[in-house]
Symmetry: C2
Subunit: 448 residues, 2 copies
Amino acid sequence: MKTADIVILGGSAAGITAALTARRHYPQKSVLVIRQEKEVLIPCGIPYIFGTVGSPSKNLIPDALVEKASVEILLAEVRSLDPDRKTVETSQGPVGYDKLVMATGSLPSVPPIPGTDLPGVYPIAKDVPSLLALQEELGRAKDVVIIGGGFIGIEFADEIRKAGVDNVTIVEIAPHCLSLSYDTVFCEEAEEALKGRGIQIRTSTKVQAIQGQGHVERALLVDGSTLKADVVILGAGAIPNVKIAQAAGLVLGATGAIKVDRTMRTSVPDVFACGDCAKKFSFFGGRPSTLKLASIATLEARIAGANLYGITRENCGTIGVWSTAIGDLALGTAGLTESAAVGEGYEVVTATVEGPNRHPGGMPGGAPMKVKLVFERNSGVLLGGQVRGNSAAGELLNVMAACVQQRMTAEDIAMFQMGTHPALTASPVAYPLTNAAEIAIGAMRNRC
Amino acid sequence: MKTADIVILGGSAAGITAALTARRHYPQKSVLVIRQEKEVLIPCGIPYIFGTVGSPSKNLIPDALVEKASVEILLAEVRSLDPDRKTVETSQGPVGYDKLVMATGSLPSVPPIPGTDLPGVYPIAKDVPSLLALQEELGRAKDVVIIGGGFIGIEFADEIRKAGVDNVTIVEIAPHCLSLSYDTVFCEEAEEALKGRGIQIRTSTKVQAIQGQGHVERALLVDGSTLKADVVILGAGAIPNVKIAQAAGLVLGATGAIKVDRTMRTSVPDVFACGDCAKKFSFFGGRPSTLKLASIATLEARIAGANLYGITRENCGTIGVWSTAIGDLALGTAGLTESAAVGEGYEVVTATVEGPNRHPGGMPGGAPMKVKLVFERNSGVLLGGQVRGNSAAGELLNVMAACVQQRMTAEDIAMFQMGTHPALTASPVAYPLTNAAEIAIGAMRNRC
């Protein structure tokens, strides 16, 4: 029987990172990744296949990344796990392990709408053949309907429009696209940008049926109107892929994901889990979280991979740090939005500043940048930050992420020693984080 | 006699920020800024006047920034300070104060070289008339010599070349340009970029004399060679402008700057100082620092402005966070370089990672990014980070600045919850900070 000290099920962001982390922390151990996909897609890059990078083959994680770290890859379908015998059954025969990491990811959620089984309806699976089939159909499509105005929905919409499809419509049940991810003012800016790029948006409504003769032809909305559709994309989230884990008796959590403790250990000895398949809890209050992001997956994988033969790391909970881009517009959130913070019961003070991202604003790359910080009113601790700007907003977001993770207060942020440069950032007089912190300090003080 | 509760001497980055901070923290107090310049230049933007923004008038801090905060501006030359009578004498008559902030900045350092008084030799003064004169001369110049390969030197060189001057030569006494600011490998990349843009670089040498008949004509180097020069720029640093303070009896520190405590109070009651004129000490060990950056000035101004009527803030010392750009290449340092850390007596572990700043790397804006982190070997505390990348490196730098300021360890950074996006950042599998931290952790563990 084939064996390895450390066996990892799944070869996407979590699996690869768990393998690389295990290799770094346990250089003497053999590490084997078992995955079924011949090629591994960069998960967050999937929408960008259609209008920007051009094909799935240009959006792959090269096997060399793990192979040069002496991690073995076995291409096989995993059929079952026997934790007592410490063995997994695969299409290529059994594999024995000393430590196992479940990194089996998630599967696209299919909403309970009649007609999702029609040809031309695509959940977004992370595999090359299904994306090639979608790309081929999009090449002939004139009308595309996207169900769900979250990240997947808006990024697919923008890319499909960019690829040349005339009529792309997002249907979103909430009053705004991205409303779980940003406060309303940022959602509105995203919607304006999308509309400016020729995308139709239908909010506060939903698809009640997908219809067609042998192939999708239209989506029927709850108000009785119909949208022509050669292709329908389901951007309705994802559910943890826990089939193997569940069959093996691993305990699942309230969110349907594999239950893990803060060290990423499952309910079964020597079995860890990380990434979309693993249960998450919030950095803020500790309740279960259903967020699924590649960046969260890699954090959990760095914990799991380091802890395999001795606990050195603990998960402090999911902060939730994400960004998206619509053309030159970038939008990011680190931690809680104001609406999420209020929903969680926090009393908040917010401050929003807007100004140029260069100094003077006429420097090349100059664009308006908006930053909103959300503080807990009594302690002054930063609960979250949102940014709208150009591409540098993706790293400004990470400045805010560091501040949130370190539980920095408004006063700490007012004392932040940032670096500034005319060609790269806002001016030090108007740096958005320090200025927003000062405004929030004023608001906290003047409380009646 | 004219009076104000809070009087601020100087209207550049420190003065403006002190005024705005005082306004925010003491909304009932009158705030007056006294400055002599009719128009205030954005200090860091000065080099970019010549090749990029086009004129000094496009590089100004608008008075509206402070005026809309109900800060009064008095255009006057300050002649003396009488701390006993709490009055300053100005060209517009005496002004009484309750609290005074010295934000008098710095003056360009003129190296002790014969000929610096010749017409055509320009120290970089922060005033519009002298920059207009320089710009006019550059319009006729064919050969320009720049003394000093620090930030001022290389940024002026690049902009003057961009403005169309054929022959621009930097003369630097050290073996590399920017060697006080970056470790050698980054300096070399900067030099390559400068050379690729047509700039001549002479290192490990210096100018022994500037010569010409009634106007500069050439620079004579110590090896006896000469460089033709229609214009010579002195990029040899700056010295604190302490004339008024010294005459008023304020104690100066070892660096020649106004001595202040951690609250930015000078040796005289009710007089504070901040910015280039104020003494600084290092975040690392607390020794005096001669760093002068607008971002440091604004930090100190946020401390001084808040402390005027009651101490609420203390300076934790100057971390030193800077960046520069040469075309599309951005270079930044937060905290200590490896050579500075070793020079300060730290035992260090470093880790350098390089990879694309997008995922996949073929996404628009994709460029290689290099990050080097410097950790104290025993505690694992981050002492500094350097980055070379595209424009987003300016904010990635600030992620590192936050990590340094919070004294995060390699382990803390390995657990950093960054946000990633294909169009904006590196992939979460290869995010440079977490990966460099993991490499450093391995190096710390494997110590013999």
